[in-house]
């Protein structure tokens, strides 16, 4: 039995300053599943994630489409209602742990704020919960960590703090916006394992935005491949890796190193494929 759809992005079109950045993006994230959103830089994956959070830049306009979260249309939500939803039901693991924490606030305050607001905990309750959360992400000595400032922590530690804080109110959906891009490889692996672990534990749905196909292969139940603001292919993870349909997906896979086939030569995405993509985009833009 497939779990119900939790997040449903339907025909989303967004332009920034008149230039289209999302062209009819549709994808679904099911409860408790991890959906990968892959694409190269500028493909629109971060923009799609931001649209869900209601954090599109000021210059962006939603032209059409809907984003439904458990039935509610996020795009038409009032500011108050969205504030109540964000952090509690939908959380973000940001891209760069080095800048995502307020440099002048102690770690404790930053985790406790969300807990007190969304879960209605008092100061002590929230603090106790924060300690539990930091333990859950395997950070040593959480008590003293709460009193530290972000600059006293390494990148990996900060990302763990951010992961802990994203999962702090037991959200139903976590948007992970390239959470491992800014980290080195060993720390990446730990963080991925951690996200996986917490996701299973809380049965959270995750929209995992990344450009790393290897990560997607390991982690995701379903995968959307994005290019030029369009979703080229959106299928279950196994299908996409075993039998990619879109030529761009095939080209991407051929360009990604694989541990199970170390002898393979890597082939860059050919100009032919890119030209065809551009053609498709032009046809699309002409039609809208």
């Amino acid at each position: 039995m497939t779990p119900p759809v939790l997040l449903d992005i339907d025909g989303l079109r967004v332009s920034v300053g008149g230039r289209p950045v999302l062209r009819d993006v549709s994808l679904q994230v099911r409860s408790g599943e991890i959906a990968g959103l892959v694409g190269e830089s500028g493909a629109g994956k971060t923009m799609a994630g931001r649209a869900v959070l209601g954090l599109l830049p000021d210059a962006a306009r939603v032209l059409s489409g809907e984003i439904r979260f458990d039935g509610t249309d996020l795009l038409s939500l009032k500011a108050r209602a969205r504030e109540a939803l964000l952090g509690r039901d939908i959380a973000l693991i940001p891209q760069n742990p080095m800048t995502a924490l307020n440099p002048v606030a102690r770690i404790g305050t930053q985790i406790v704020d969300g807990l007190r607001m969304h879960l209605g905990l008092d100061r002590n309750g929230a603090r106790a919960r924060a300690v539990e959360l930091l333990q859950a992400v395997h950070l040593p000595d959480p008590e003293s960590l709460l009193r530290r400032f972000p600059h006293e922590l390494s990148g990996g530690m900060r990302q763990r703090v951010l992961i802990a804080s994203a999962f702090s109110c037991r959200p139903r959906l976590v948007i992970a916006d390239e959470p491992t891009t800014a980290l080195d490889v060993t720390v990446q692996k730990q963080c991925l394992r951690l996200i996986r672990e917490l996701q299973r534990q809380h049965a959270t749905a995750v929209l995992f935005v990344t450009h790393d196909l290897g990560v997607v292969a390991k982690l995701c139940d379903s995968v959307a491949v994005m290019h030029g603001g369009r979703i080229l292919e959106f299928r279950s993870g196994d299908d996409i890796f075993r039998a990619p349909r879109h030529p761009y997906t095939r080209a991407l896979l051929a360009a990604t190193p694989r541990f199970d086939r170390p002898g393979d030569t890597l082939v860059p995405v050919s100009a032919e494929v890119l030209a065809r993509l551009q053609e498709e985009v032009d046809v699309y833009d002409a039609a809208h």
Binding site: G114, M117, L162
Partner: protein, 278 residues
């Protein structure tokens, strides 16, 4: 707790000034207005003909310079603290709103600041003094009216920088309201800047007060202020240079101390700078 030399100097001078200002009546060796016509232009104690009765000598009417300096510090300290605080509050509030909310709020505030800064500040303060009449409150109002723009501009720019930082996005994604983000997240990041601005402003306020009292637009003439002492001393600079130099040294020292205090406090309390010195 180690105190850096800068902070020590700044704090020392300002604590001293505040102490002198409050205790002027008890600390000053003479009444600042008491004339001693037999002892006019007495040189400082260490020069030929100086006496220990008048440590820094006397002016053209035989008034004790040291006592006048001490009493003058009352005006300087009052103006520095009150004017800098008021200008800071006004400018910061407007700057925060303009920087954070942008849009028409920013347009309105920025245009007002532009128009404001187009006025020559000295002229503006003289006009204000003429309209409001001389007095301490006039000096304070003049400084606030002129200098709130300084806070407003800098704070607005800094808030715009902070607003684009990822931690503000993070705060939005945990569902904090704009007001809470502004007061709880952005303002603490602006505080180090505010401390620096505030202390700089104290120095500026002391100078502006001196300028206004030099021009005779500050407190009533018979009250001693550093500016009016310079003005009086200017006429006798050839016979008794110390009349003019003594208050000038006071002004320079307090402005330097204001800057040192600002730097010292910022280094001490900014967690980002604190990292450099483990």
């Amino acid at each position: 707790m180690r105190v850096s030399p800068k902070l020590g100097f700044g704090l020392g001078v300002y604590l001293g000034l505040v102490l002198l200002a409050f205790g002027a009546h008890w600390i000053a060796p003479h009444d600042p207005l008491e004339q001693d016509l037999l002892n006019t232009f007495a040189p400082p104690a260490w020069r030929d003909g100086g006496t220990s009765t008048f440590w820094l000598g006397t002016d053209s009417l035989g008034r004790d310079i040291l006592s006048r300096l001490i009493h003058g510090s009352r005006v300087a300290v009052t103006v520095a603290l009150i004017a800098a605080t008021c200008a800071g509050i006004l400018g910061t509030v407007l700057g925060l709103c303009a920087g954070y909310f942008g849009g028409w709020v920013d347009t309105v505030v920025s245009r007002i600041v532009d128009v404001w800064m187009a006025f020559p500040p000295v002229l503006l303060s003289i006009v204000l003094a003429a309209v409001l009449g001389a007095g301490l409150h006039t000096v304070v109002i003049a400084i606030v009216v002129i200098d709130w723009t300084r806070f407003c501009r800098v704070v607005r720019a800094e808030v715009m920088v902070q607003k684009s930082r990822d931690y503000v996005t993070s705060a939005l994604t945990i569902g904090l309201s704009p007001w809470r983000i502004l007061t709880g997240e952005v303002v603490p990041n602006v505080v180090p800047l505010l401390i620096t601005l505030f202390t700089l402003e104290m120095g500026i306020a002391i100078v502006v007060e001196a300028v206004l009292s030099f021009a005779g637009l500050s407190v009533a003439n018979d009250d001693a202020t550093w500016g009016s002492m310079i003005q009086e001393g200017r006429q006798f600079v050839r016979q008794a240079w110390w009349l003019m130099v003594a208050p000038m040294v006071c002004i320079v020292l307090s402005v330097l101390a204001a800057n040192a205090l600002g730097d010292g406090l910022r280094e001490r309390f900014d967690p980002l700078l604190r990292r450099e010195r483990p």
